[in-house]
Amino acid sequence: MNDPSIRNQHLDLVALLQEKERAITSDDVYSIKEKIKDCAKYLHNYSLNNDGHCLDAAFAYYVAGYYVRAIRLISDANSNEEVHPAQRWLALILSKKFEAIEGRAKLVMGDAKYSDSELAREITSCGLSDYEALDRILCRKLAEAMLAFIEFAHFGDESKLNECYDLLRVSGRLCCAARESVWWWWIECIRLVVREYSENCLWTQLSSMRQENDPMVRRFIIANYDRCNPDGKRVPVVELWRTQVKSLPSINDPERGSFCLAIPTSGGKTRVAEMAILRFLIDYQNDPEAKCVYIAPFRALANNVESEIGPTLSAAISDSAAEPGLGVVSSFYGGLEFDPLDLDYLTTAKVLIVTPEKLDGMLRSDESLRSQIKLVIADEGHLIGEGDTRGYRYRMLLERLAYRLVLKDTSAKQRKGRLLFVSGVLPNAGEFAELLTGDKSNLVQIKWGPLPKPEIGRWTWDGRRLNPDRPSLPTPNRLNPLQDCSSPNSFEEVLVRTAFAVAKYENVLVFSASKTAIKSSTLLALLDCLSAKDPIIDEENIQPLPTELIKRCKGKEWEKYCSILERGIAIHHADLPSDLIKETDERIRNGKVNLLISSPTNAQGVNLKIGTTIIYRLHHHYPTLPINASTFWNVIGRVGRPVEANASSDQQLKPPRAIFLLNASNASWEDDECVRLSKRLIEAETRYRIATPFLNFLIKVREQWKQHSGKGVADLLVALAEKPDLGWMPDLKTRSDITGLLHDLNEHLAALMEEGNVGEEKIDEWLQVDLARVIDLLTGATSIEPEDVEYIKQAIRARAIFVATKISPKQRKQDYLLGLPFKDCEVIRANEESLLVWYQGCVGIFAQEGRFESGVESLDEILNFIISNLSICENAKKKREMSVKPSNTGPLLQLETQGLRNSFFKKWLLGEDVQIVAEVFQRLNNNADFDEYREAMLEKELPRGLTAISRYLSLVAQEKEIRLTKDLAFLPSLVKYGVSSKVACFLARWGIPRGVATRIANHVALRLCEDEYQIVDSIKAEAEQAKRAICSVTESDIALLQLNESEIRQVRKIKSRFQMEP
């Protein structure tokens, strides 16, 4: 605005509001809204010491469609008791305190002093002034209007909305007649807010869906109105943001086409996904088998998504308040196995929240699931451009889903599935739309965000002080003194002093692309020392960690992580033990962490309530892999976003800051690289391109071929089509690296064929017709240079020919079921006979009596096989840098004799105390860390390997006409949870400690074996049996089982949950 006076801002605002009322097209409305937003910004800057202007700004932000900004501004204005009564109503609406509105309105309605007769009496007898009488009359009318408004907001009754408008209109007319301009203005503001609300509320925006299934959509909207955060605080979601409104036409597209959604981080993508799921639920209301899959690549994100959409979608489907995890919205993450417990949840779930790895396992385990999936939502889609295994795997999974759901021809009668590809950082979104939907116009790309964008700058350390690169990002006045704490790395000291100085007044994220940098022991020691001497939180705010966690970390490197976490400082990276990650996540979510030092894994997955981000290191594996722009901008986009969009915030509307911390004092090459990279990242904000580098290995294959064979590319293509490996490559290391990627490509092509139901008889057709489509799919949005595209396509074609013609259908099927690295598949195939014998022997574990020991021995053989032979265990060991001894090369778990090994597994499976199991483990492994072993192997890789082998052996048994009991499918769960029975598996899954789960299962089994505890043959029945078991536990059982207090609490909690189920 040119005119700086506040009065002119108000006049402009009024003019713009009138203009908005007259605007016809939505583009015009949005353009006017942006101007109103500018007014709001001006008023807000002016409002620092003026509640009235603050409310004006909040009002203007709201009618401009910036609801989050309005709500953030309102908290202060709302606190002043002296504000005009109409202002108070306005503030309550803007802050969505619907309960308070209702309560206050009812209070007014029930108060006699607002009644006509009482007013008349007081006017006549008590000398009530005209002004006071008018105030009361208008208060009363506004209360009536607000009740009508609430009724509409809650239940969507449009007659109530009209009633509200009528009441506001007549009240406004009275104000005009009485020349009450102040009242008039605020009532007009309320009218405009109600209008903005009614235009964008769920009732209006979802009206077309309501026409198709009113009860379901009503339940959904009402659940959103009643939405609470984990603390039980009401956080209603009642209107849609601009991004969400603009996405609705694509969601409701009559063809139900797939599309790519590219809106900025924190632009409301989850809500769009939620509405797409609602659309799916309506479309498939008569198809009980149809499922939606929501892929969340990070566990923390999956957690967030579950709590965001679980309750509302559960409510939409069921009248009863279906509990997430037990109902129609179920989460499948944590672990790579797919066991009968997952299968149990899968049968009831319509909406599955999964990690890519888990979905991959599910698809391989449950063939029927492939055809049941009708909607796939791929969140954080830009990750498929990452140049690491996680990125490649995510992309391959999406390619498989896109191929099956969208791109593959289906019969005319069959409706195609739908894929919604979601990302907040996808400048080349059109490419991805084309890649995954076949048409680049299938795109919703909006650059609107509800909050101010972060301000980005640099602080450079010159050896004496920090120098900002712009005045708007001042450095802290004074860096915190080191208080006799120190680090040999002086720049590390600068980082910590800076972070501490900022963290004293706002939450700080120190972001480092390098995990090594934040795992540094010197950094940890410095944080530990400084936080003890110069704490960033007050003594009374220190909250002790759970005793179990402290015990678990005692004497290990995690001990210091725990002590700083108690003092409001968290270090977060993927190598933390799971219970420490869980506690850290919980504390971040609850705002108990003031200084978070994080790697990209965590920073990308969750919403961070952070004011300042200090960007510390920019290389993943210094110096080879600089952070890519999408990861960087995704982290920046998350910073400062509201944890709850509709909750007020102490952060107000100050834009969050993202500051590169750079070193110019004795700068190393690394420091110089960071300076250069920081400039490139800032410049690349909207110009970078996300593209998968996976297929680039084929370029290297060509280079090697040219170099070593002396032949042309045509001969290479022949070799790729005929030869299983790259034996012609002389350098072993290069050959090994590239062969791994070639096998990944083989496996991917085989999976595409398997999931595309390409049987023996359809191979020719697939090669001639479908393969071209597959090749386009694989080569779209990649970093292949244009001149190489043709060669890459030919190379993929050659490899597809190899997979289709040189690998037998049986082997393709086996490899698909295994879903493991190629060499693991080969080892398993080679040991098929032994594995089958052991597998059959495992049945003893489930036998009623006498064969448990032999069953455990068989299971022990299989586990030992996995540990000794499969690369997944070797990789886990490397990743975790496990220090398991003895140090001679060989398997991770090198137990001395079979008997001792058997004893270890037996104790684990029998649910014996962890201390006892750990002692056995440590005795046999030179005091290696059992907790790490448990987490990486017992709870992850062993169940994963066992699941894969179970799938494989089931096929083998089928071919050999050997009947296997379904109980064997429980083996991965027995190992994962460390329990000895199916019932105990369920109990452990529901959160009962493994020892207690085993004791209860055994105790109840003995008592019920003669009546209720029967042999059952379906997962549902197994689950029911487990529920019966826990429900049958009496108080005397609890006493007999000698449970401690927390165990008793957990047992009672689970028991009461199932007792309440119908």
Partner: protein, 256 residues
């Protein structure tokens, strides 16, 4: 509730029967009993409004507070209870509305009766004062209003004599109250308009309005005699209005 505007007042009085005389023009209107009933509310509200600025009781009643509206209206009413004052004030109200609707003068934007310190006493000063709107040539209307059950020639004589006296009075003295009213209201435009009408050169029109319930044969015969004694320098318009009703009906109009 509505008050009269120019159009509705012209519909209320209808077309006059006009006769020309040496001293000026006579206009005669008759309002039937039926029409009076039709316009009763609007007439009542107009009288109210001339006596009080409180003008939003309808909105209060309409919004669901009829009792409060009535209580406020009663408390804010400036209507006289005295018979004679009621009749006198009615004539003045009709005269002001007539001046606007038929003569185009701004005659109703000051409400002197709202400021009457004794509501049951007739106000001193000029009964009807009209100015031209800003932008029009300045012209002053000075009128006398009489309202009685029956026609009385003496009242017409009094009215003429008063006009005769006012003709010699300076406009600035006549308009002083009006200017003060506008100045207190902070209405600069009307203050300026009043100022320009205070100039000595501003031409004046004269008006006598007589409202009665009966029909006199020759309502203004007394004027001819008076003119002989002291003629006005500008033509006179004499208007007679007959309300075909009873006095009690008129009295009811003053109920707040």
């Amino acid at each position: 509730m509505n008050t009269f505007d120019s159009q509705s007042f012209r519909q209320f009085l209808g077309q006059p029967v006009e006769r020309k005389y040496d001293w000026g023009t006579e206009q005669r209107f008759t309002v039937s009993e039926e029409l009076l009933v039709v316009y009763e509310e609007i007439l009542k509200e107009t009288i109210n409004r001339h006596h009080s600025s409180f003008d939003f009781s309808d909105e209060i009643a309409g919004i669901g507070f009829p009792l409060a509206a009535q209580a406020m209206r009663y408390r804010n009413s400036g209507n006289p209870a005295d018979d004679k004052t009621q009749m006198g004030n009615l004539g003045e109200v009709i005269g002001a509305e007539f001046s606007r609707a038929y003569l185009g003068f701004q005659a109703v934007y000051t409400y002197p009766k709202r400021f009457n310190t004794n509501v049951d006493q007739a106000m001193k000063g000029v009964d009807i004062l009209g100015l031209r709107a800003p932008g029009q040539s300045a012209q002053l209307l000075i009128g006398e209003a009489k309202c009685a059950q029956r026609h009385d020639e003496r009242l017409i004589e009094d009215a003429y004599k008063h006009l005769d006296k006012l003709e010699r009075e300076e406009s600035s003295r006549i308009l002083r109250f009006m200017k003060e009213y506008h100045r207190l209201s902070g209405n600069r435009e009307l203050v300026e308009n009043t100022d320009r009408h205070m100039a000595k050169s501003v031409p004046r029109d004269y008006l006598i309005i007589s409202v009665t319930l009966t029909v006199p044969r020759s309502p203004f015969s007394a004027i001819a005699e008076q003119v002989k004694q002291s003629p006005l320098h500008r033509p006179l318009l004499a208007v007679h209005i007959q309300f075909e009703t009873k006095k009690s009906w008129l009295t009811n109009l003053f109920e707040p």
